[in-house]
Amino acid sequence: MGEEATLPITVEFSGGLELLFSKQKTHKVQIPASDPSGKPANVGFLVGWLCDNLMVDKRKDMFVMDGTVRNGILVLINDADWELEGEDEYVLEKGDNILFVSTLHGG
């Protein structure tokens, strides 16, 4: 295998989601710069990659369902709602900050 290009990004979890990821809120990660088909890594790819490479808790359905982030989790790309940025199609750039927020309901 040759060298694989990687992309340094920051992934953060909030609202309790960090419990699925070693109880750690901030992760500096190097992800593959392209997905297996050779396309540049986007947020959709990142979500799968996090399940396979960063998730410690095995209850994947607390994070993904039907191939995407489950209902009740907001995805923020550099602190902006991912719906403003193209959702899972957003192509990741070096240094991006991707924040996953589990919606709280208590009061």
Binding site: S14, G16, R70, L74, L99, H105, G107
Partner: protein
């Protein structure tokens, strides 16, 4: 009766002087607060501090709805209740406290649960709704009703060491609603209440105080800002206390509540609500008891 002709009573000048001398409020802002009607849904960890600061600031009419009674386990965070009120309805306990803090506002008790059947008539008289509830089904119910009635919402939530705050439908007709941000409810199995997950008192406290702040800002301003983007404030108490402001989307065109869904039959209308066709509890897929905490 002569007082009726004065815009503010002498007692009100004394009480509100420290905020009226600020240009952000001023005399006109104080009058707007006095004329305003706020409904606080939930007299728990969020509703307690929110109600205290809203009453202190001189909002003229304050309604409180909650069906619950005061318990010992509430008192580390629900600071307008007290040990001598254990067993009393939270609404009655809250209003007893608020009347002593500030006797000037009109307090309206609603000792009942907010439901799809009563939400429209209960919310109708108010200008602003504070969502201080504890369950997704109530959050969708409040949002749907407020959209039908054209009212803004200051919504907050908290669990364990974290909190979230967002102002919805502000100004009415342009800002996103709860369904724009969260079109589908989370799986019922992922919903944790403060009773199950725990909650640190000042965490929910800080979110409730910030709700009061947003309410006072919204009600005292002369007009809504021309260009307003919606942001969500998230708070985390550990490891270092941290607040973060997130830029949220605007209205969703196809929103079933505030937009035009592809299939017009999906639209949540006043008529559908009145006919009992919108079941928020079933929508959120829980059979667990729904309470205001």
């Amino acid at each position: 009766e002569s007082n009726e002709n004065l815009p503010l009573l002498l007692d009100e000048y004394r009480r509100y002087g420290r905020q009226m001398i600020m240009p952000e409020i001023g005399f006109d802002g104080q009058l707007r607060l006095k004329r305003a009607k706020v409904l606080i849904v939930g007299a728990g960890g969020l509703g307690s501090p929110a109600a205290a600061y809203i009453a202190g600031a001189g909002v003229g009419t304050i309604g409180i709805i909650d069906h619950d009674t005061v318990e010992h386990s509430n008192l580390h965070r629900q600071i307008i209740h007290s040990t001598s009120k254990v067993g009393m309805s939270k609404v009655e306990s809250a209003i007893t406290y608020l009347k002593d803090l500030n006797p000037n506002p009109t307090y309206i008790p609603h000792v009942q649960a907010l439901t799809s059947a009563n939400a429209l008539p209960i919310l109708t008289p108010y200008d602003l709704i504070l969502d201080c509830t504890d369950h997704p089904s109530l959050r969708y119910l409040i949002s749907d009703t407020a959209i039908i009635l054209n009212k803004p919402i200051v919504s907050a939530s908290a669990l364990r060491t974290d909190g979230q705050l967002i102002v919805l439908n502000d100004p009415p007709g342009s800002g996103p609603c709860y369904r724009c941000i969260w079109p589908n409810p989370p799986p019922a199995s992922t919903v944790t209440s403060c009773g199950e997950g725990g909650i640190l008192g000042p965490v929910v406290g800080v979110m409730g105080v910030l709700q009061a702040l947003e309410a006072i800002k919204l009600l005292s301003r002369p007009a809504p800002p021309e260009q307003k983007t919606t942001s969500m404030t998230i708070f985390s108490a550990f490891p270092q206390m941290a607040f973060r402001t997130l830029k949220m989307r605007g209205r969703r065109k196809a929103c079933v509540a505030c937009g035009e869904p592809a299939d017009a039959k999906d639209k949540i209308t006043k008529e559908a609500m009145e006919k009992g066709l919108i079941d928020h509890i079933a929508f959120c897929g829980t059979s667990a008891p729904v309470g205001l905490l």
